[in-house]
């Protein structure tokens, strides 16, 4: 399948972007449409430890407990539309027929019953696990020990054939180099890992997902750089953390957007994945709906952009919560209430034509909370997007341009605006700009340079990327 690279922006200006509206809305599932005038809450969950004991205990946990609780609460609170997300656990990808199939089918059957009885719009995203190990081989035929690439593809097929409405994955290509680079604050290595190798890996897996989706008349949603940029974001952490500077995390987020875009270039329709905080950038480029998460995902992520990241979302998620009891019901019920009411606020703002005001309030609240929030503010996200499409056909140059644009935006605002940086954040920013400036202008030279520089990185095998 040909990959259609983005070389122009789908939006004419940042102000055209707002939550609940995408240039290309997507319909799927049981009466669900995303990006066409409303924000839909997307509830995600994790089974309790031990639920994976056998296929029946896992099915019971996901279907009889989690799905039923969610649907009951959605009706109880009067939410017109809800999307579920099942992020598959290891057992489901390791033995798709035994563990995955009954869960996928059981969830859909129950959703169909509620849709039929109440008319609620429902859909479910199945995010298959990516268990592939770089050291064993990322491509089909390479992993002789576990056959993880084969199992991963089979798992996508099982999901699509048995009840998924939307297919996603958190692909992990290039992570072995990015993890190495992050611990050395090496932006070149991170760019090589995620911007370059990760994009190559996605160009392998995503055409397959798109084909499977088409064959089964479901949607291929999108990816996230959870494996890379979220690692940066969590290590950078909050104001008590000192694992890595937040300027490094901000620049990696911009680079990650050039990778996440690849799913849509391979034909996925969106919405992308909630934990891809790079969503505002890729939405600005492609006009496809984006799922986001922030203040209502504190059960999983304590990020520094809880309000801001709602600014242009189309699905609003809780990220994930382990199933357990709370005073107000089960955890999935409580967090559905949290995201559902926030979506209701956004939708009321749209009805009263105050959505752009609310968007700006979200954005302003966290604009200066961290450099990563700053570059994801929709006006800056748009500028990063412009840098990507300027070099849209070159996965290396566009990743580099995204990183450099983000770094320059932060530098400029720190000098003359309201974005404050610690000394170490400033030092790191200067180093990033110096390092990115020193990179070659041509992909071949960059590849050659990096294959030499990172040849001894543990677990890295260029053959995984046909290099």
């Amino acid at each position: 399948m040909a990959i259609k690279r983005y070389t122009r922006m789908e939006y004419g200006s940042p102000d055209e972007m707002v939550f609940g509206e995408a240039r290309y809305p997507v319909s799927y599932g049981l009466g669900q449409t995303v990006g066409a005038g409303v924000v839909v809450p997307e509830i995600n969950f994790a089974p309790r430890p031990g639920a994976e004991k056998n296929p029946e205990s896992l099915r019971r946990e996901y279907v009889d407990y989690i799905t039923k609780d969610i649907l009951d609460r959605a009706i109880t609170l009067g939410f017109p539309a809800v999307q579920l997300e099942n992020e598959h656990i290891f057992q489901m990808v390791n033995e798709p027929q035994r563990y995955e199939k009954p869960v996928v089918a059981g969830q859909k059957e129950m959703m169909q019953n509620y849709h039929d009885e109440y008319g609620i719009a429902l859909s479910i995203r199945h995010t298959v696990a990516d268990p592939r190990l770089a050291e064993e081989g990322l491509r089909v035929g390479m992993d002789k020990k576990h056959s993880y690439p084969e199992k991963c593809v089979e798992s996508i097929e099982v999901a699509a054939e048995n009840g998924a409405d939307l297919l996603s994955i958190e692909s992990t290509g290039g992570k072995e180099v990015a993890d190495y680079a992050i611990l050395r604050q090496d932006i070149r290595g991170w760019l090589f890992g995620i911007g370059y190798l990760g994009s190559i890996d996605m160009a392998w897996i995503w055409p397959q997902i798109v084909d499977i989706a088409k064959k089964n008349k479901v949607r291929a949603g999108g990816d996230t750089n959870c494996a890379g940029a979220n690692t940066s974001m969590f290590m950078a952490g909050g104001y008590l953390d000192r694992d890595i500077p937040r300027t490094f995390a901000a620049v990696t987020r911009a680079i990650a957007s050039a990778k996440t875009l690849v799913a849509w270039e391979c034909g996925a329709t969106g919405p992308d994945k909630d934990c891809g905080y790079e969503g505002p950038i890729v939405k600005a480029i492609a006009g496809k709906p984006t799922a986001q998460e922030g203040k209502n995902c504190q059960c999983a992520h304590a990020d520094l952009m809880g309000n801001l990241i709602a600014q242009v979302c189309d699905l609003w998620s809780n990220e994930s919560v382990e199933y357990h009891p709370e005073f107000g019901g089960s955890s999935v019920q409580c967090w559905l209430g949290s995201i559902g009411y926030e979506a209701a606020l956004m939708n009321m703002a749209k009805q009263l034509k105050q959505d752009r005001l609310l968007r700006d309030l979200y954005m302003a609240t966290d604009r200066y909370r961290s450099p990563e929030a700053f570059i994801l503010a929709y006006d800056n996200a748009y500028k990063v997007g412009q840098a990507i499409v300027e070099y849209g056909n070159d996965i290396y140059l566009r990743s580099k341009a995204a990183g450099m644009t983000a770094a320059r935006l932060i530098e400029e605002e720190n000098k003359s605006g309201k974005l404050r940086l610690s000394k170490h954040e400033q030092d790191m920013l200067r180093k990033i700009i110096t390092d990115l400036s020193a990179l070659p202008e041509e992909e071949g030279r960059f590849q050659e340079m990096c294959l030499k520089a990172y040849k001894d990185v543990p677990l890295f095998n260029p053959k995984n990327y046909e290099l």
Partner: protein, 261 residues
């Protein structure tokens, strides 16, 4: 877009990190902690300031005047002590610690080359990431920190089966076992490992950590000792080598980990 010029952002957020930022530089702090001897001082500074290119020459010079054990103890390990202090005070970040540890490791290898017998290890640690879990960055950080603190690490990698863990523990006879997991359904391997170790009469601290892992869960099975961050590993290991068993580590957990959280 709304005009934000009139906004008083101090009413919206407070940058505690900048408020608490220390004015002391690494150079100032190191100057107070490094030895006076010029040869050892250079080795310490190479570690503290991550001068990988200098370490070979400077360790070589120090070895002409001191034994390998002395260069390790008063040069390389001393350097890591300074790095630890800088990290604790918020002057250094984790990557500084990682790179400094690599410089130290390079120096230790040079010293070991000149030693008659094997360098005495503080203890052996077997490390793994739970079966089905590919997330190994935390384990890798912890491994570097433990090595830089003088421990021998048997790194089993990621996605390791329960049986492989048990076999390795039986063969290697470590003082400590560690396990990390990001997901709720992979961390459930830990109580199974604990059970099988107990069946075999093995009773060592089993330090468990990772995204979904929490203290209550780890303390629900025998031998489990929780670590919130990789940086806590050496403190827990050191106490183990002082004779603390897993129960005593748990009882003193808050005190042992307070400074590093």
């Amino acid at each position: 877009m709304l005009d934000l010029k009139s906004v008083n952002f101090d009413r919206v957020l407070r940058r505690y990190d900048i408020q608490m930022e220390t004015k002391e530089s690494p150079e100032e702090l190191a100057a107070r902690m490094v030895p006076k001897d010029p040869y050892l001082r250079k080795v310490v500074e190479d570690v503290v300031f991550m001068r990988s290119k200098n370490i070979t020459e400077d360790v070589g010079s120090a070895l002409k005047n001191y034994s390998p054990e002395e260069v390790i103890e008063h040069g390389l390990i001393k350097g890591m002590d300074v790095v630890g202090e800088l990290y604790g005070r918020g002057i250094y970040y984790l990557p500084h610690v990682m790179v400094a540890a690599e410089v130290m490791d390079k120096g230790v290898k040079l010293c070991e080359f000149q030693m008659k017998g094997a360098r005495e290890t503080r203890g052996k640690v077997v490390m793994h990431v739970a079966e089905g879990d590919p997330h190994d960055i935390g384990k890798n950080i912890a491994a570097v920190l433990l090595k830089s603190n003088g421990y021998t690490v048997v790194d089993m990698g990621r996605d390791v089966s329960i049986q492989d863990v048990i076999t390795t523990v039986e063969n290697e006879k470590p003082a400590i076992l560690t396990g990390t997991a990001l997901m709720t359904t992979t961390m459930s391997a830990f109580p199974k490992i604990s059970e099988r170790l107990r069946e075999r009469g093995i009773n060592i601290p089993f330090i468990c950590a990772g995204g979904a892992v929490n203290r209550a869960y780890v303390e629900s099975y025998p031998m489990g000792v929780f670590a919130a961050k990789a940086i806590q590993g050496p403190a827990l290991a050191n106490k183990t080598m002082e004779g603390y068993d897993w129960r005593r580590l748990r009882e003193n957990w808050d005190k042992l980990t307070a400074a590093k959280e």
